[in-house]
Assembly symmetry: C2
Homo-oligomer: 217 residues x 2
């Protein structure tokens, strides 16, 4: 297995056909999170879009970040966040992969991706941005800041986590959330969805100790 | 299933015990990539550390980013990158999860995590930072820039992808890399490793078309 290794240098990457390179480089950093970002415009049009770049930034204060490009199909997400100051993050699960992927189509700004793709918007705890009813894990965020990545014109958006809704059976005694029980999904590249199976969980690593599993503890 | 939903607001999150909150918030954004970052100091000491925040930033130019905190155990990674300008990104696979997790132990700066954890350093194509021989997917990066996230003092490090080594059987005709064939892993929280199984792959989404699978095409 894994006998023949291919090597690509920077020139070979640069020379790739555009779509080929997008598939290649979007896969090469490994698995990514699979979330639907819910927003609403000032005039009340709901928007929903898949993002694979939502990443933990820190726990205290609880912050997350994601990357966006203001000129792509997901620009409505960005514009709504900037005008309302809020958004929701909703985990994709195996039951809603097809609908979720379809939110990436270039719908007109007056069309709600909820309506177009058959997902259901819901409003929880008076939060003014829509959640995805079918998602099991839901997060309400306030826009905090944006950093322009000058190397390619993308933006890192920083969100402060304000509300979290999770199924009780996914939360363990030590605060860890079992994403497999939440039927969670990971993204491979631009267009592929994988269902992870828990392999192992370890105790805090120390130099003088061998790694020990803490599964089922 | 998923009948009882727990709700946590910002005050409940803030009031959590520190380690509980770290587990909780590190899990809440979903699955993360699982990579070992390889670096070397000016005096020749190799360093290896798990990072779960490596994220695709753009394909042309090919860029990735990751989050680090200059004061944690992985500060040697940061210091080495700043002094040498280079690093490697190596995918964790199921065979090396235990060794990889152990790199997170607080070894003295004179100790190589390769030696301490039983992983093998290798040097490919005259790149001066060490790769992990046991990894199937390996990336060589040059440090390009860093952005200080003032909200919590972390840094977003930007790397330019210069060389890529991947097994031939993982690369599809359209540039997509099948991470399951590469035996890839995703991280759930701080300390848990999951093995994803490919669920579906879709054609480019369009408003007037239903989503169509392109698996095995």
């Amino acid at each position: 297995m894994m006998k023949k290794i291919l090597h690509f240098d920077k020139n070979a990457i640069k020379a790739m056909e555009k779509r080929y390179r997008a598939n290649f480089i979007n896969s090469i950093t490994g698995y990514k999170s699979a979330n639907l970002l819910g927003t609403i415009s000032q005039s009340g049009v709901e928007n929903l879009a898949v993002f694979s770049s939502v990443t933990h930034l820190g726990s205290n204060p609880a912050l997350l970040g994601f990357i966006t490009r203001p000129t792509t199909v997901s620009r409505h997400t960005y514009l709504n966040i900037k005008s309302t100051g809020i958004f929701t993050v909703n985990h994709i699960n195996t039951s809603i992969i097809t609908n979720s992927h379809q939110t990436a189509a270039a719908y007109h700004e007056d069309i709600s991706e909820f309506t177009a793709t058959g997902l259901t918007s819901e409003y929880l705890n008076k939060w003014k941005a829509p959640f995805v009813k079918e998602a099991h894990i839901k997060i309400a965020c306030e826009f905090i800041n944006e950093y322009k990545i000058k190397e390619n014109g993308t933006l890192l958006i920083i969100g402060a986590i304000k509300e979290i809704f999770i199924p009780e059976e996914t939360l363990c005694d030590d605060g860890w959330i079992n994403l497999e029980i939440a039927d969670g999904i990971a993204i491979n590249g631009l267009d592929s969805y994988s269902a992870p199976k828990l392999f192992n969980r370890f105790a805090y690593a120390k130099p003088d100790k061998k790694p020990s599993s803490i599964l089922n503890s």
